[in-house]
Amino acid sequence: MNALTKILIAGAAILGVPTAAAAQEIDVETIVHNASAQAYYQGENGRARARMTIVDSQDRERIREFTILRTDVGNEDNGDQKFFVLFSRPADVNGTSFLVWKNTQSDDDRWLYLPALDLVRRIAASDERTSFVGSHFFYEDISGRSPVEDDHELVETTDLYFVVESRPRDPGAAEFVRYRSYIHRESFVPVRIDYYDADDTVYRSYNALEVETHDGYPTVIASEIVDSRTGGRTLLRFEDVSYDIDLPEGVFQERYLRNPPRALLGQQ
């Protein structure tokens, strides 16, 4: 390496311009770890109001509105989490609440509360890659796919993105053969994820559409899943996003499943 190259690299480093050399210093495990932490683990906990617009191949729309509370168990990135979801629309699910204990080492625990019957139902479903409330988002898209479920390879580093290829360690447990993530280099926001089937065709894509910074955390507030097999798509938009809020003990228990903490949920 000659002196001029050294000076150029040093200058690039000072200016914050990523260079091939700098990019190669970060390994792919760190990239996917950071991307998962960015997408699902920011802050110790969080709250948002969500609106899903589900559009089918004939452009018919269905709406799902819910408030979601999240806490990280032990405030550890990519560890266990708990989620509380309270539905408000459509009208027939108003007041229905849903509790998930996301376990990275075993199946998640899920409970559904049906207010008209005052019934707390334990949900046996273990498949994370089924539709969440009839949308094109899977449960896993909402609560996060653990980075350890896939083998990752950094296939390209562009000016903007780490392009990562991931293949499931258990091919039987996923409907995709591989997926390709475009992870923004500076923020680690996954901007696009393309899922490939056995014909090596993209049949499903996730796109981050809009990012806002809330409480110091860059947050994807608009995203969509496009399903080219069925011709449908779902737009997910978050409002009223906040992090590191005061969560009383027991929010993620049966107590609040039956009687949701409306003040906390911004549904007073």
Binding site: I54, D56, R62, P90, A91, D92, N94, S106, D107, D109, L114, A116, L117, D118, L119, R122, I123, A124, A125, S126, D127, T130, S131, V133, G134, T158, L160, V163, Y182, H184, S187, V189, V191, R192, N207, A208, L209, E210, V211, E212, T213, H214, P218, V220, I221, A222, E239, D240, V241, S242, G250, Q253, E254, R255, N259, R262, A263, G266, Q267, Q268
Partner: protein, 475 residues
């Protein structure tokens, strides 16, 4: 030569750049907006807006929400539905006509919240084609008004919830089998094609819930006994032991219902906790048999006194959810089991298992047993020992639920079968959400079995098919 090298380098660079651009997504709004390219489906994504330096956007969005939530203290939204349904028997019933359900029902539901309390109400208005009388009985659910919910939730202390007033109550682990849940049921609605939510009838209670680190406690006080909305013979024909026959409106049950406030009361307690992923609970109840059970000396159906003690566990096993529940029914008016007029004490227990079996498909199985504790004594004292009674009732059930059409279609079937009493109940339902407003549903309730006095087979001539249309609304 040098020129050629430079041109080659530039060309390679441009090709690489171009190739990369062809695959790379453009940045979404909010991520380094200066670097956005024109969107193109085959291109890498644009960065989303707002990733850097867009605090202003976040701020303005938060303000919008603030203005929305500033309506707190008002009724923020009413929801409800209008529901029309009709059901028909598909077997000839000597006691009833073919139509067993024809009604138009509207429900309005609302909440009113302040910082430390929530008031809730839900009221049904019903036009029932099959009843002549429109007089209102809010406990029996008769007449054109049925108040489903009218209560206030208070959080007077961090570890205490109080919910006062009319509310629906459910606990326990069975799938449509209730052991320690002694809250009122409405099997008439359930068997004749109303929505499943009408299986539970509301109670007028004080509910105190205490939450501690080690254990949680629910105490429910019912100042005036709330019986089931039981079979009277008016809507569904049933087996009458005195007449030893299946009867209907010709032999309507008019029992004596304990109704003295604060004397004919009920108390139900649950202590529960989570142990890892397992839910453990203990239960106690003091009150009355919830449906007419036995009769007085003058042959009037009665609700004898009852205590129940039980326990349950539920948790993940073998990739599914397993549950177990036990309850001892202590028939207080005849603990020795000598009276032919009063039910025996009973031991009831069940085990169940449910798991996913394919995409959007759930299956479940249950075994349930009900055993009379002083059967010999009871049987020896029967004045008419002609009926073949059993010491034990065995019941098995199997359920399958399939979601389809983006989860807008729900198909579910559950079958209950008693191998030793040889009766069967099949409940199959289909529900399709046309959109967020309109829903159609239909189903079958089929009862079978040779015995007139079986719990399910007594209803065999009420076997029915029904359809319903529902329009939901929200303000």
């Amino acid at each position: 030569m040098r020129h050629i090298a430079v041109i080659l380098c530039v060309t390679v660079f441009l090709v690489l750049l171009g190739g990369a651009e062809a695959q790379l997504p453009s940045l979404p709004t909010g991520l380094s907006p200066s670097q956005q390219d024109a969107p193109d489906d085959t291109d890498p994504p644009e960065l989303p807006s707002g990733l850097f330096g867009s605090d202003e956007i976040g701020q303005s969005s938060a303000n919008e929400i603030d203005s929305e939530t500033s309506t707190q203290g008002l009724i923020t939204g009413l929801t409800g539905f209008v529901d029309w349904r009709v059901g028909s028997r598909f077997r000839t019933n000597p006691n009833h006509g073919t139509t067993l359900l024809h009604e138009l029902r509207g429900q309005v539901r609302g909440d009113w919240s302040t910082a430390d309390s929530t008031m809730s109400f839900a009221v049904d208005l019903i036009l029932d084609d099959l009843v002549d009388s429109r007089s209102i009985d809010l406990n029996a659910g008769e007449g054109f008004v049925d108040i489903r919910e009218a209560n206030i939730l208070l959080r007077p202390a961090g570890k205490l919830d109080l919910k006062l007033g009319r509310q629906t109550l459910t606990w326990g682990t069975g799938d449509l089998i209730f052991l320690n849940d002694l809250f009122p049921k409405d099997y008439v609605s359930f068997f004749n094609g109303r929505d499943e939510e009408y299986l539970k009838a509301p109670s007028d209670v004080v509910r105190a819930s205490l939450f501690f680190n080690v254990i949680n406690i629910d105490v429910i006080y019912v100042p005036q006994f709330d019986p089931d909305r039981f079979f009277t013979g008016e809507r569904l024909s049933y087996y009458n032991p005195n007449l030893d026959a299946i009867v209907g409106p010709n032999a309507v049950i008019t029992p004596t219902i304990p109704d003295r406030w604060f004397q004919d009361d009920e108390m139900a307690v649950r202590v529960y906790r989570q142990l890892g992923a397992f839910e453990l609970a203990g239960y106690a109840y003091r009150g009355f048999w919830k449906s007419p059970a036995g009769q007085s000396a003058s042959s009037i159906p009665i609700f004898p006194e009852l205590s129940v003690y039980g326990a349950s566990a539920r948790g993940p096993v073998l990739g599914g959810i397993a549950s177990a529940e036990v309850a001892y029914y202590d028939s207080l008016n005849d603990e020795a089991g000598r009276s032919p007029q009063i039910p025996n004490s009973q031991l009831r227990w069940l085990v169940g298992f449910e798991r996913e079996a394919g995409s959007n498909r759930m299956i479940g199985v249950q075994y349930y047993q009900e055993r009379r504790m002083q059967f010999d004594s009871w049987a020896n004292n029967q004045s008419a020992p002609t009926r073949s009674e059993d010491e034990t009732r065995h019941l098995v059930s199997a359920r399958i639920t399939q979601l389809a059409a983006n989860q807008n279609l729900t198909l579910s079937a559950i079958a209950f079968w008693s191998p030793n009493q040889d009766d069967l109940y099949l409940r199959a339902t289909a529900q399709f959400k046309l959109n967020d407003i309109w829903r159609i549903d239909g189903g079958v309730n089929a009862f079978a079995g040779p015995r007139d006095d079986g719990f399910f087979s007594q209803f065999r001539d009420n076997s029915n098919i029904y359809v319903g249309v529902r329009r939901s609304f929200a303000t």
